[in-house]
């Protein structure tokens, strides 16, 4: 029973969808603390001109998934089929970028130009499959609820830590701007004064040479 439920869960969550063009690349940003798991699932459907509707599944249709970490280093770059599931765990806190683009070799398929992509991205404690955990660790209902609360609190803690790190970065940026404004203002005033004095001196000597003064 549980297995059937989890299978249905797998089908049901591809609820939100959007349309993507042939060579279009769609990117999504996930700003997450470190050591956070992200699971992404997608399902693609191709527009069939003959029937005027979307086909339930098309073999040979692929999507290329590329995930970059906050330092723009690629942590995952893989080709998946028309239905795919990708997962990664962040090692640095920050903005991770998940990009999808279709990479079908059969360009003729895209004559209609529309591809429907169902996407679901779950982050942190939403990645936990509680019925599975209950079955594996043999937890009672109360224990499972406590486990869920613990996971939520852990996620809140991680986010707070990340918040502290971000605030520190913000503070450093502001202080750097402050320093720059200070030093460059002083430098520019000095340049102004020095060039002013040089101009006067130079012109004075020039006019004296020309015997106009």
């Amino acid at each position: 029973m549980l297995k059937a439920f989890s299978n249905y869960k797998a089908l049901n969550i591809y609820a939100l969808y959007f349309h993507i063009g042939e060579t279009e690349k769609k990117c999504f940003i996930e700003e997450i603390p470190d050591e956070t798991m992200v699971i992404g699932k997608y399902r693609t459907q191709l527009w069939d001109k003959q029937t005027g509707s979307f086909l339930p599944a098309t073999p040979g249709l692929g999507m290329h998934v590329e995930i970059k970490d906050p330092d723009t280093k690629i942590i995952l770059s893989r080709q998946y089929g028309s239905d795919g599931r990708f997962t990664f765990t962040s090692h640095t806190p920050g903005e991770h970028q998940i990009c999808l683009h279709s990479n079908s070799t059969k360009m003729a398929l895209f004559a209609g130009g529309k591809l429907r992509v169902h996407l679901d991205i779950q982050v942190g404690e939403h990645t936990n499959n509680y019925p599975e955990i209950a079955a594996k660790d043999k937890l009672t209902e109360l224990q499972l609820r406590a486990r869920q609360l613990l996971d939520q609190v852990e996620q809140i803690q991680k986010e707070q830590n990340y918040q502290r790190y971000r605030e520190e970065r913000f503070r450093m940026t502001s202080e750097s701007t402050n320093q720059r404004v200070l030093w460059w203002s002083i430098a520019q005033t000095l340049i102004l004064i020095v060039t002013g004095i040089w101009q006067m001196k130079h012109l004075k000597s020039f006019f004296e040479a020309k015997k106009l003064v």
Partner: protein, 218 residues
């Protein structure tokens, strides 16, 4: 009873029952995406009648932090339409079955890319125990757990919105930092160039033109 021994129609019946059981519970989607200038991005979701849904969105970076948002139901009736909004939350109950569509538009902007965050919750979260009979009452401990869970969910939601607002401030600060450096160096250079060229120009006014005037005269 082994699932393999069930006949095909029995399996179909079971699946239909599961689908019926699950139709009340659907998950929410939370995404952050980049909206280029003059672009419009639409998202669709199939919703059953009577489901309570919430759409929340916030502009994270770009320009004046505003975006046009439009939510239409299955027949194209506009349920929500706002222009140039920075943040909003809209709750509605689905009055019809079908595909609901919501779009974010940056068509009024000529060159700023916007990053938009949205959270579209459809229905309630699935219960922790799929086999749970909804009729049985929860014990006090379980009710306490449920209320703590709901409270923590709202804490996480507030944290998300705080993070997005803080991201706005931080990206502005970082922009300011780089801009200050560039403009300062630029201004210093302009200052030097202008002052030297002033002197050179002035000198050229007083240079010996007697040779040229005599040539013209004769």
């Amino acid at each position: 009873r082994d699932w393999a021994t069930l006949s095909a129609w029995q399996l179909v019946l079971v699946q239909v029952l599961w689908a019926y059981l699950l139709c009340g519970w659907t998950f929410g989607s939370e995404l952050t995406f980049e909206l280029p200038d003059n672009a419009k991005q639409c998202f669709y979701e199939d919703i059953t009648i009577g489901t309570k849904c919430t759409l929340e969105f916030q502009v994270v970076t770009g320009g004046h932090y505003d975006v046009d948002c439009r939510l239409e139901d299955a027949d194209g009736t506009v349920l929500y339409k706002e222009m140039k909004k920075q943040y909003d939350s809209f709750t509605f109950t689905a009055a019809k079955n079908g595909t609901y569509k919501f779009c974010f538009s940056n068509e009024f902007s000529t060159f700023t890319h916007k990053t938009v965050y949205f959270d579209f919750q459809v229905g309630e979260d699935p219960p922790l125990f799929p086999n749970e009979n909804r009729v049985t009452a929860l014990t006090q401990m379980e009710s306490a757990c449920v209320s703590i869970h709901e409270a923590l969910k709202s804490v996480i939601d507030y944290q998300t919105h705080f993070r997005l607002r803080e991201a706005q401030g931080r990206s502005r600060a970082e922009d300011l930092n780089t801009r200050v450096a560039f403009w300062s160096i630029g201004e210093a250079l302009i200052l030097l160039v202008v002052s030297i060229s002033q002197v050179v120009l002035l000198r050229s006014f007083f240079s010996d033109r007697k040779t040229t005037t005599t040539r013209v005269g004769s």
